[in-house]
């Protein structure tokens, strides 16, 4: 409520300023969490984190790639894999096409290799805007192939998850992607190649119950909803509202389920720092 009062007080002068500077209407953005209105560019420069309340807005897979890798070092792999619609599930093909139009990438996970502070990494990033980041055969296969590459080339694996769970239009085959990716993660473990799992909002269902929770180190973005069952399902089951902050990254940290909650602005450096530790490298300052 205090925030609302602040918001009302602030609105007038900002509108005046806007008229004076003749900033176009689409140059303004509003935080969904606290209602804060600011110039779009300020949101963008803060990596889409609200300058007022720190709320982490959802960003695309491409934005995570840009954030995490050295400029110009990204090489995408398996970018043309498409679902074969194995169950001939009604309207699945239409939904896939609509998702491509909406999200851009051909599937809910993009994979590739790149450099981070000069270190070679394999990177997979999920895109929630593609059918809720759901895991079907393509997501499972791309993650499995990338993990295999990490084992073969002994390159650290970084996975950024954002998913509502398994893709039900592929039935039990989507469930089996949990097993498939787990088989590759088991190989990665045996090969002692580092795996950093980064959980973003939301990471639930079959993805959280497989590779997302299998990292050597598990990081989470502030406020991200993380769990097995989604909040709506739990609410329905227990017939009451969930406690404040239930299933947030901070809640998981408190319950010992993630290693650290890391703001978006520090994700890159923290990931690099961890990889150096696990790959037996010197700290960044001493690297050159």
């Amino acid at each position: 409520m205090a925030r609302m009062a602040w918001f009302k007080k602030e609105r007038k002068p900002r509108t005046a300023e806007r008229a004076k500077l003749e900033i176009p209407a689409d140059a303004w953005e509003k935080c969904d969490e606290c209602g804060h209105i600011d110039i779009k560019d300020r949101f963008v420069r803060a990596l889409n984190v609200c300058p007022n309340c720190g709320h982490h807005r959802r960003i695309s897979a491409q934005e995570y790639i840009d954030l995490l890798v050295d400029e110009g070092s990204w090489h995408e792999l398996d970018g043309t894999l498409r679902s074969a619609d194995p169950l001939n599930f009604e309207s699945y093909r239409d939904r896939l096409e609509a998702a491509v139009r909406k999200a851009g990438p051909l599937e809910a996970l993009r994979s590739g290799y790149a450099r981070l502070d000069g270190m070679a990494i394999d990177l997979a990033v999920m895109d929630f805007s593609f059918m809720g980041g759901s895991m079907g055969s393509v997501v499972g296969e791309k993650l499995a192939r990338l993990t295999r590459r990490s084992v073969e080339k002994r390159i650290g694996l970084v996975v950024v998850s954002a998913s509502g769970g398994a893709r039900m239009q592929e039935g039990v085959l989507s469930l089996m992607q949990m097993a498939k990716t787990s088989v590759e993660v088991a190989r990665l473990r045996a090969a002692r190649v580092p795996f950093i799992s980064i959980l973003t909002n939301p990471t639930t269902g079959g993805v959280s119950a497989s590779y997302a929770m299998q990292g050597d180190v598990i990081l989470a973005e502030p406020g991200a909803v993380i769990g097995f069952a989604g909040p709506r399902v739990i609410k329905q089951t227990i017939g009451q509202d969930l406690p404040e902050g239930f299933q947030t990254a901070e809640f998981l940290l408190e319950h010992g389920m993630v290693d650290a909650v890391v703001p978006r602005s520090e994700l890159r450096d923290t990931t690099a720092q961890l990889l150096r530790h696990m790959a037996g490298r010197q700290p960044a300052e001493a690297a050159d």
Partner: protein, 319 residues
């Protein structure tokens, strides 16, 4: 038989009533009406076979959820000997939704683990309708490691609506528990055989179901989401469950076709609940055969095949 009759079993009920009525009227002289009884009884048996042959996917879900269907402990009692139940995850508590322990199959020690539903309301509350908390999956993993240590095969029986979606389950890391089981089962150095005996409910089923051989009873189902849940999400209408059950491809035949299940175990006429002992005998026979085959493999070969089995699952197009 009058209780728990499924809607599609109603024609059987009619015949059963006729037969019983005839027997009642005949009283002591039941032998005199045997001529009249025989064709009715034959018709009843044929009709039962006929009905069960033509079950729709949703009807199979009903059979898989039948309150009289044999559960894990029923199977253990009939197909194994020398069972010693082991309890607890050593971390938080014992989860009665999953049972397990040492047992014998053909005289050889095996570790049997399975979801356990309750037979009545009181037991169902205790066993949470076979929906495990993290401690259930952690107990299962502890027992699998015990089996690995003493080189005994692991046999898991799957029968769960799913992992429990509740506050405590989430607080204690439901996702982590399932994820850990998957990655550990991928490299467990003993044979693993899974039989879906009733409901194979998504991640809660797979958490004990990553195996060298996955078998399904004829009327069991295995799905990424319940038909009701799927219908509610896709069509905002849980009553569309028939449509969802058809679309999701959840029957044993479907899963063999998709390459997820290795073999279907036939059920007695009228389903496993019509003759639990016969169902357990059938499961026992098939599990023994697969155990023998897997025991004969060198461990490295077993593990490589397990990896290949799961790495080949999925359906995609590559340009």
């Amino acid at each position: 038989m009058a209780t728990h009759t499924l809607d599609f079993e109603r024609p059987l009920l009619e015949l059963e009533r006729q037969i019983e009525e005839m027997k009642r009227v005949a009283g002591e002289a039941v032998a005199d009406v045997s001529k009249e009884l025989a064709p009715l009884e034959k018709k009843l048996a044929e009709l039962r076979v006929e009905i069960y042959k033509r079950l729709t996917p949703m009807q199979r879900v009903q059979v898989a959820r039948h309150p009289k269907r044999p559960y894990t402990l029923d199977y253990i009692k009939t197909m194994c000997t020398d069972f010693v139940e082991l309890h607890g995850d050593r971390l938080f508590r014992d989860d009665p939704a999953i049972v397990g322990g040492w047992s014998r199959l053909d005289g050889m020690s095996v570790m049997v683990i399975g979801h356990q539903k309750g037979r009545d309301t009181k037991e169902n509350l205790r066993r949470n309708f076979g929906m495990a908390h993290p401690e259930g999956y952690r107990k299962a993993l502890r027992l699998m490691h015990l089996a690995e240590k003493f080189r005994a095969p692991v046999i898991t029986l799957v029968d769960t609506p799913g992992a429990y979606p509740g506050l405590g389950a989430e607080e204690r890391g439901q996702a982590e528990a399932i994820a850990r089981n998957l990655v550990e089962m991928a490299t467990l150095r003993v044979p693993i055989i899974t039989v879906v005996i009733g409901e194979g409910g998504s991640g809660g089923a797979l958490a004990v179901g990553l195996a060298d051989r996955v078998l399904m009873l004829e009327n069991s189902v295995y799905s990424v989401i319940s038909p009701e849940g799927c219908a509610a999400i896709l069509w905002k209408d849980a009553s569309q469950r028939e449509r969802a059950a058809d679309a999701l491809k959840i029957t044993a035949q479907d899963l063999v076709a998709l390459g997820v299940v290795d073999e279907i175990i036939a059920e007695p006429a009228g389903g496993a609940h019509a003759d639990p002992d016969a169902a357990a005998a059938a499961v026992g026979e098939v599990v023994r055969r697969h155990t023998r085959q897997l025991r004969a493999l060198k461990i490295e070969k077993l593990l490589r095949r397990r990896e290949e089995k799961y790495l080949s699952m999925g359906a995609l197009n590559e340009k």
